[in-house]
């Protein structure tokens, strides 16, 4: 019984301690390190977005004198952190309608930051060496003819279409069903696994069909051709089960935390002005992924060589 009494006493004491030590907790954590001159950015997992973040961070640091903290996390988590103010800006977003509705429209904790200038596009791709030999493979109507070429151990009698990470938006199962294709999806589960598989196929010059997108640094190393799907029209992807059309072109967006957009001063203004082209982003991305440079070094090199471009992003004095 002594034990019970002692335990109760300890728990009670701890409880009192917790309660007395503090009232309501701070919801937004203060940053002691750099005070107001700190900008927090998220680093998404794919290289193109790393390039944006690295270049932005480099200029914020060296031209505007900010401390930049970067944090790596998944896309949906980043949206949540943006809403809470744990991070200030997402530099590249491929479209998250659910989060947009929740945080931008309803809660108003996140605001749009404008176009990044890069247009993203998702589609089905085959390697160029295969398309050169069989030009008609680039139309979805002929895919069934080539299904046997795309066969793997995982796809059984059907042709395999290689899928990516669970992060990505995909309508492929519906597309296969609605377009009556003799294909089967194989979910690789991560971008790294998908890229490794593509590189392996390319080295052996084997035919393959994959869910893929541009801009992507790998496209500079493995030449791929898009397969034409039925044309995209607004609203044709409204019902996920009935989708039978291509993926849209997505002008990639920037998003800011609402407080940051209002009180972020020069940093917010600069990030709002940040806008470059697909080619420019690819230059940096390829330095990181192809030449294995660190994102910081790649950003530094690009900034040194493209002064005219980024000078225009700086806030007017």
């Amino acid at each position: 019984m002594r034990i019970v009494r002692t335990t109760t006493a300890v728990i009670g004491a701890l409880g009192v301690l917790t309660l007395s030590a503090c009232g309501a907790a701070e919801t937004g954590k203060k940053d002691a390190v750099g005070g107001d001159k700190t900008v927090k950015l998220t680093v998404p997992s794919w290289v193109g977005a790393q390039a944006n973040t690295a270049v932005a961070a480099h200029i914020l640091k060296n031209e505007l004198g900010y401390t930049v903290k970067t944090q790596q996390m998944g896309e949906v988590l980043a949206w949540d952190a943006l809403s809470k103010g744990d991070i200030d800006a997402i530099m590249e977003d491929w479209g998250h309608p659910k989060e947009e509705k929740q945080y931008v429209t309803t809660k108003k904790t996140v605001v749009k930051g404008g176009d990044l200038g890069v247009t993203g596009h998702i589609g089905w791709f085959v390697p160029k060496y295969f398309a050169d030999k069989h030009p008609d493979v680039t139309d979805y109507k002929n895919l069934n003819k080539y299904a046997k070429d795309f066969k793997t151990g995982e796809s059984g009698d059907k042709g395999e279409i290689l899928e990516g990470s669970p992060d990505y938006v995909t309508n492929d199962d519906a597309l296969i069903n609605n377009l009556k294709l003799n294909l089967k999806t194989n979910y690789s589960g991560s971008e790294a696994a998908q890229i490794t598989a593509i590189k392996k196929y390319a080295k052996e010059q084997k035919p393959f069909l994959t869910y893929w997108w541009t801009p992507q640094w790998l496209n500079e190393q493995v030449d791929m051709v898009e397969v034409k799907l039925p044309e995209y029209k607004t609203g044709c992807d409204a019902d996920p089960k009935k989708i039978a059309c291509a993926y849209p072109n997505t002008p990639l967006q920037k998003y800011f935390n609402a407080d940051f957009a209002k009180n972020g001063g020069k940093a917010a203004e600069f990030l709002k002005n940040f806008k470059w082209t697909t080619e420019q982003q690819n230059q940096v991305a390829l330095m990181i992924a192809g030449e294995k440079m660190s994102p910081e070094a790649a950003a530094e090199k690009w900034v040194k060589e493209n002064e005219a471009t980024w000078k225009a992003w700086l806030p007017k004095k």
Binding site: M1, Q71, Q72, D86, G153, P166, N186, A192
Partner: protein, 649 residues
């Protein structure tokens, strides 16, 4: 582990006869039951998959809860007065530890690591060896250019291990003192270890925020059970004579706990701490998924550029930290109860003072040299490793054929058979097997778990995962027991294998994700390879130890009767080591299930993929459902493979 040594040896024949008899009786009853139930099943439900009418969709309520948290976390008192304090405290604690380490300078941290290792392992050769290991570990972390990341990871480890150990001891105390609490807690502890962290990472992020807090609390959940289990085991295993003696001297319950039971359990508790540290380290990469930084982040970001060398450069320090902590805590554990000769400058308090003085001196000297590891003293292993990896994957072409054949001839038939079996017959099968090897209670648990999978609406996917888990399990056990037998017979082989096994166990699976895919392709075979790599070391270790601890007298007797080496092994050693082998099977099940999620990242699909998808798409219902199904699979497999240990123990 102690149960292994005390396995009954005399009663084996009687026990076996009894068992045989019982099994025969049960078989008879089962065949009668089958004759009645199978036609009934066919008549009632026919064949095929779990009927949709019998499912309950739990993702709706879970997603609602998710939404409630998002809407209320800035205003609700539960958050303002409790949960937010927790997360702020967590962040502050980790920041403080990191700041402290950073302020010591690299030389100070190095000196601290080495001197504490030396102090813990004692004087003499052992102490020097452990200290040298510590020195090597820290030096390599610096050389690989991972100094700062290593400090961040160590800071997170220090705080999470401290919290996990405290929680573990509290749970362990309750479980060790009260038998009923122990029985009630056991499934909770099992769930804490088998439920994939990916599944509850999302709710933790929503409640506690990204970065340190979510990572910290997830690590604590995963790492606390070993501490709790071993503390309880230690308390219950205390010598009754000692307790009796202290009671007769008039000690109260509290005094007895403090002066007799806890000190007697010290060895077990230290082993628990050791295991807790290892478990916590295996969460480093998962912590990086929510932005906790450190070595995990380096591994994770190397993945996006498909850079094995960079991932390895961050993975090696994780292994080295594990080896350093493992050797240090193990050496400290071995020394407990040893008598320390005399006093002198190098023992007791004065030795601690010496350690402290040394660290302070080194830190002071180091600060003159600069706080972080000198840039010039780093070596980039990225490009040689990548070249080596490319060479290997280009020249090993048979692996792809192997994985293809394995998928076609083993995995596909196994999965198809499981899917083809009518759902009710699978339930009957599970019930029958569980009853055959255990009691009606085990059969009930196993069947209910299997049924729960169907009710959750993930029947098909779970069977897919089950077929992969079974294949991985068979492979792991075959290889592991074989390697264990060799290790038990050749001590040198074991010493050689030890660092390899250490690396296999603590190297984050994310590091070998790319090589596995490069060798075996995006298939379920890759997922199985990843699982085997992770689960193998434990099976090898437990088998080796079990065989080693077989009563030497029994071996001697069989040798004198003229048994050959093979006969000795098959008829004496292996049967006597049965409890150890059963433990190996149990660990095989738990560990293979722990990497189902990683399998989802290399083409394993099914439940593992759903768990990852739940986290990355913010669909809590999906991830949680798949996670719970994995726990249920674990329960089923555990119940139908773990009979006798419970009966004899």
């Amino acid at each position: 582990m102690t149960a292994v040594a005390t396995a009954p040896t005399k009663e084996t024949p009687a026990l076996r006869a009894l068992l045989k008899n019982r099994v025969q009786r049960k078989l008879l009853a089962l065949s009668v039951a089958a004759l009645v139930l199978v036609p009934l099943g066919i008549a009632l439900w026919g064949s095929g998959s779990w009927p949709t009418g019998l499912t309950v969709d739990v993702s709706g309520p879970l997603d609602d809860a998710n939404q409630w948290v998002i809407d209320n976390r800035d205003t609700h008192p539960l958050f303002l007065y409790f949960l937010l304090h927790l997360s702020n405290t967590a962040t502050d604690a980790v920041d403080a530890v990191y700041g402290f380490l950073d302020s010591m300078g690299w030389l100070g941290v190095l000196a601290a690591g080495v001197l504490f290792a030396w102090r813990a392992a004692g004087l003499g050769r052992r102490g020097i060896k452990v200290a040298a290991t510590a020195f090597g570990a820290f030096a390599v972390c610096g050389l690989l250019g991972m100094w700062d990341a290593t400090l961040i990871t160590i800071a997170l480890m220090v705080v999470s291990v401290a919290v996990a150990a405290l929680l573990g001891v509290l749970i362990g105390l309750a479980a060790g003192l009260f038998g009923r609490v122990d029985r009630a807690l056991r499934p909770v502890l099992d769930t804490m270890q088998v439920l994939p962290a990916f599944a509850y990472l999302l709710p933790f992020v929503l409640v506690f925020g990204t970065g340190t807090p979510a990572a910290l609390f997830c690590t604590v959940i995963y790492a606390a059970p070993p501490m709790a289990r071993l503390t309880a085991l230690g308390l219950r295993g205390a010598d009754p004579a000692v307790l009796e003696a202290s009671a007769s001297l008039g000690a109260s319950g509290w005094q007895r706990l403090r002066t007799a039971r806890l000190p007697l359990a010290r060895k077990q508790m230290l082993l628990g701490l050791n295991q807790t540290i290892m478990m916590a380290l295996s969460m480093v990469v998962i912590a990086a998924l929510v932005g906790a930084g450190g070595l995990g982040e380096a591994v994770y970001s190397a993945l996006s550029t498909v850079d094995v060398g960079k991932a390895l450069a961050a993975g090696v320090p994780i292994v080295l930290i594990a080896v350093w902590l493992d050797r240090t805590t193990a050496a400290a554990g071995d020394r407990i109860g040893e008598s320390t000769p005399g006093g002198g400058l190098l023992h007791g308090r004065s030795a601690w003072a010496l350690v402290l003085g040394g660290v302070v001196a080194a830190a002071a000297a180091g600060l003159a040299l600069g706080r972080t590891w000198p840039q010039g003293w780093t070596y980039d292993i990225s490009s040689p490793v990548n070249k080596a990896q490319e060479w290997i994957t280009e020249n090993l072409t048979f692996t792809e054929i192997l994985s293809r054949e394995f998928t076609l001839w083993i995995l596909n038939p196994l999965r198809d058979a499981l899917v083809w079996l009518p759902w009710w017959s699978l339930l009957l099968l599970v019930a029958a097997v569980a009853w055959l090897v255990g009691t009606w209670a085990t059969a009930l648990t196993a069947t209910l778990s299997m049924g729960a999978i169907g009710v959750l609406g993930v029947w098909g996917k779970s069977l897919d995962t089950l077929s992969q888990v079974l294949a991985a399990l068979v492979l792991t056990l075959a290889l592991g027991v074989l390697a264990g037998i060799f290790c038990a017979r050749a001590g040198r082989l074991e010493r050689w294998l030890r660092p390899v096994l250490d690396a296999m166990q603590t190297m984050p699976q994310f590091v070998y994700l790319i090589p596995v895919v490069a060798l075996f392709g995006v298939t379920r075979a890759s997922a199985i390879i990843a699982a085997v790599v992770y689960a193998l070391p434990a099976v090898v270790r437990i088998t080796t130890q079990g065989l080693r601890e077989v009563d030497p007298a029994a071996l001697e007797a069989s040798r004198s009767l003229g048994a050959s080496t093979r006969q000795q092994l098959l008829q004496v050693q292996l049967p006597l080591a049965r409890p150890a082998l059963q433990l190996a099977v149990n660990q095989g099940v738990v560990l293979v299930l722990a990497v189902v999620v990683v399998g989802g990242l290399v083409g394993g699909g099914a439940l593992g993929y759903d768990v990852v998808k739940g986290l990355s798409r913010g669909e809590m219902g999906l991830g949680m459902t798949a996670g719970v199904a994995i726990v249920c699979l674990g329960l089923v497999l555990d119940r139908i493979t773990q009979p006798a240990t419970r009966k004899t123990g």
